[in-house]
Symmetry: C2
Subunit: 367 residues, 2 copies
Amino acid sequence: MTGFEESVSPPARVAGPGEGISLDELRLAARNHAMPLEALRYEITPIGLHYLLTHYDIPFVDPFEWRLTIDGDVQRALSLGLAELRARAQVSRVVTLECAGNGRALLQPRPVSQPWLTEAVGTAEWTGTPLAPLLREAGIGSAAVDVAFTGADHGVERGVEQDYRRGLSLDDALREDVLLVHTMNGQPLPPQHGAPLRLLVPGWYGMTQVKWLTRISVLDVPFDGYQNATAYRIAKEAGDAGEPVTRIRPRALLQPPGHPDFQTRARVLDRGVHELTGRAWSGWAPVARVEVSVDGGRNWNDAEIGPQPDAYAWRPWRLPWAATAPGHYELAVRATDAAGNVQPSDPDWNRQGMANNQVQRVPVTVR
Amino acid sequence: MTGFEESVSPPARVAGPGEGISLDELRLAARNHAMPLEALRYEITPIGLHYLLTHYDIPFVDPFEWRLTIDGDVQRALSLGLAELRARAQVSRVVTLECAGNGRALLQPRPVSQPWLTEAVGTAEWTGTPLAPLLREAGIGSAAVDVAFTGADHGVERGVEQDYRRGLSLDDALREDVLLVHTMNGQPLPPQHGAPLRLLVPGWYGMTQVKWLTRISVLDVPFDGYQNATAYRIAKEAGDAGEPVTRIRPRALLQPPGHPDFQTRARVLDRGVHELTGRAWSGWAPVARVEVSVDGGRNWNDAEIGPQPDAYAWRPWRLPWAATAPGHYELAVRATDAAGNVQPSDPDWNRQGMANNQVQRVPVTVR
């Protein structure tokens, strides 16, 4: 063992003033991908357009050999194959997922990690079996407090070698809408989305939706693993534990109108009336309001909001825009949810670059 | 019309010394994505892991309204719907596609465009109908020299507004293995791969494989559109027309062994014998040799090469490595094809960053 020198697994850092995206960040950006904004036209994001974030490597899991273990503080440990999980009650839900790091690369200074801009999101129809009846069948111990979910993906982060593992409180794990899903958009889960089985906790950021699930352990002590205690924290200072990342903050996105330049992605559109459209979501409460600005946020107009296909799915919105005068415009859109959470114009900077739901801005040229 | 100012569609440029990846390049990297190298384990790349490069936006094409026009220097123009194309002879081929810009971000100085590293590749089973019988049915004019293929994607590049359009010589278009494909890996083409129909020219780089195909025009003059005459050229100087990018240069890729660090993607593996594996391809001739180095290219050993599933599909290779001593190693792999083309250790720098098939290098730590 030569040790995890800093060259292999360095500590977290924040980019220096004016520092461009590093080779490390570019490697991550080449692997992981966001949802191209024109895919906002789909209520259900086609496979391959849904955002994707893989901590380590996508593991190969043989679905015929694979079994899920449910153990820990339970009366009887369970071992279940895919056929047994498919033979149980099946539920389909349309759920919007978003990476907790979405918006990170817009922060100044920029936390060095996966450099998301604004589009690390997607919505799928997920099918699987509810978790709570399985936990009850195993017999939850009277001292149980948390549940840990372990994936088959293995790697090292900040010097800590680990299988990817996240904890949830027992109460959250017993929510009736928490599922173990094997199907995405009517097809078997693709390898990159967690085949053969992943966890689905509607309303929470993506780190919760453990892929390549192999083990569910009921714990009689609070879970203190890396992905809860160290990663996915909102803190200003390096030594501060901060607050955990949990539910998805509200966000609206605009499908950029007109056509783009290849290189700059700057948009050009013809003079006339354009229907601005997009989608909006929040993990805290239904989206209650979507506002659109065509002057960089000085004035806002309410958009019409369409129906929500499921409790934690995005809602469509639209607003006609009479773009009668040629010139440059900055379009912006912001969502407010029924709990009163509203997207900020300026980011809530934090050291890991988590949950930056600042308002999207789309410069366009009307000709 | 306010004009395509440089802020919308700037001229091509090369990054300055030490210039990090720009916001423009990051936007492209977030939209377009490479194939994570662990997906080298699949002979057929699962949908969503195949590389993807979109010049403008992914257009929405209604498959029920859509028709393909074949016109130009023909005796009778044709208009064909999807059902008519599916009713013709159907052929399936396993074909490896690679972006012509693969390897661009490794160049020094770096041409500013989509910043690919080494993995903008993928292999699919494509199904469709041969093009040549359709052209013959239309009646090719006696003066025909080129064929132009137009997609439904629209945008601007370097100040030139355009539908994406590429030309092929009539001889190349009449190759018996050129297909119009509607199916990828047994499923209808996903939106991002050109639904409902794309061109498939086995052996050529990705720019040739026109997506969202709407029109095929037989020309009695050489095609001089932007994507052939300006883009996809190999030239050293800004004013030099250079040579066109055509067939895929040989490349071998290694599936990195061991497990990665999240941030750096640096690899750690346990001491012991590891089977190094990967795939290799060339658009010029079958891959004849794959060599592996574990000392950064000083010494090379021949790998065993597996069968080629189709004429223009990648071949698997493998070589056991006795990694008995802990330490740092640089793995490298290079392919040679039957036409004698071999991957260079150092890149063949050119101004657009095209076809850089320099040898892949994978640093690993054995513990």
